[in-house]
Amino acid sequence: MRRLLRGMVILLLGLGLGLGSAYAALRLALDQTAIHVGPWRTPTDAGGTGRDLYTRAMVAVGALLALSRTETIYFMAERDDTGEVLRGDCRYVLTGRDMPARWWSITLYAGDHYLIPNDQNRWSVNDQTVTRDAGGDFNLTLSRTPVEGDWLPTGSADRLFLFLRLYNPEGTVAADPATARLPSIKREACS
């Protein structure tokens, strides 16, 4: 009986250590292998066939059915320009300009990577709908309460997750995503 108990403890310890380290490795995989552009980061190839074991598992959990880099480059942000985690009770302003792609979009998700319920049914802006100033810049506000101009509601989300899609990327960005000029993410206030 004692040997059986000892065997069970060893098995559970091994399983726990294995599963825990696998979870930690997936959390670390993106940080270690991603290309960073300001607060944004992108896997070297989200959907391609040459991905390593960890990238494949990480994308399966966090961005299933992602396309290969030649078709689409995905940038994601969970932090603002200063490195602070994006919070649903804060107001942020993204400032940027058109990005080199056949079309692009910026979508706001909750921390669970699903769209945030809101009465206005606003979840994204894209190159067709965004408002640009005379210099070509756009400003996109994320907040709980409505603001004038381009605005995405943070609803009752606790954490926020921004996902920027460049479909049919063009120019140097297609070959080297690190050269992309992406929107800044500035925190203005928190409630």
């Binding site: 250590l17 696998a22 399966a60 059915l65 078709e71 990577h113 699903y114 049914n121 979840w123």
Partner: protein, 181 residues
Amino acid sequence: MSRFFRTALIVLAIAAVTHVGAIWAVPRGIMALVIGGVAEAAAGYNRAYHPPPIDDKARTVVLPSPDIRYSICALDLSAGPVEVTATPPASYFSLSVFDAITDNVAVISNATTGTGPIHLVIAGEDTAAPALPDDAHLVTLPTTTGLLLLRGLAATPALAEAAETARRTLVCRPLARDSAG
């Protein structure tokens, strides 16, 4: 070797096998669930399914884009190759093929094909090369099952209407043996 080190080695060996096994199994398990779910929604494999436009209730797959209309087919090549056709609008439109471990093995968009119909034949690696219908692109899938995902740009109401019309043209079906032309 002391009993402590022997025990520690056994724990580490179990942990290593579990670690690699979990990382290996995650994409396969998730994809099996999604492929099965799509086949159920479409009432079978190799049939087109048109889910509702994306909103906050879309929770089958993470990070759905509200700027895209999606249609999807669960692929099963166990009985032979599958033929896929769709007619794109002028705006962005693509057909992408994923194998059972989540790899995007092929993507064809109207950036390269223009506004004419897109025609794919998807065959298994172990299948003899099928006779291709005219203008068809051959896609080799390294696994028996997979997914075909259609994306149509729906960034404005007008584009959404065009994408909606275009995605309804999607047909997935077993390749007819006498279809070469």
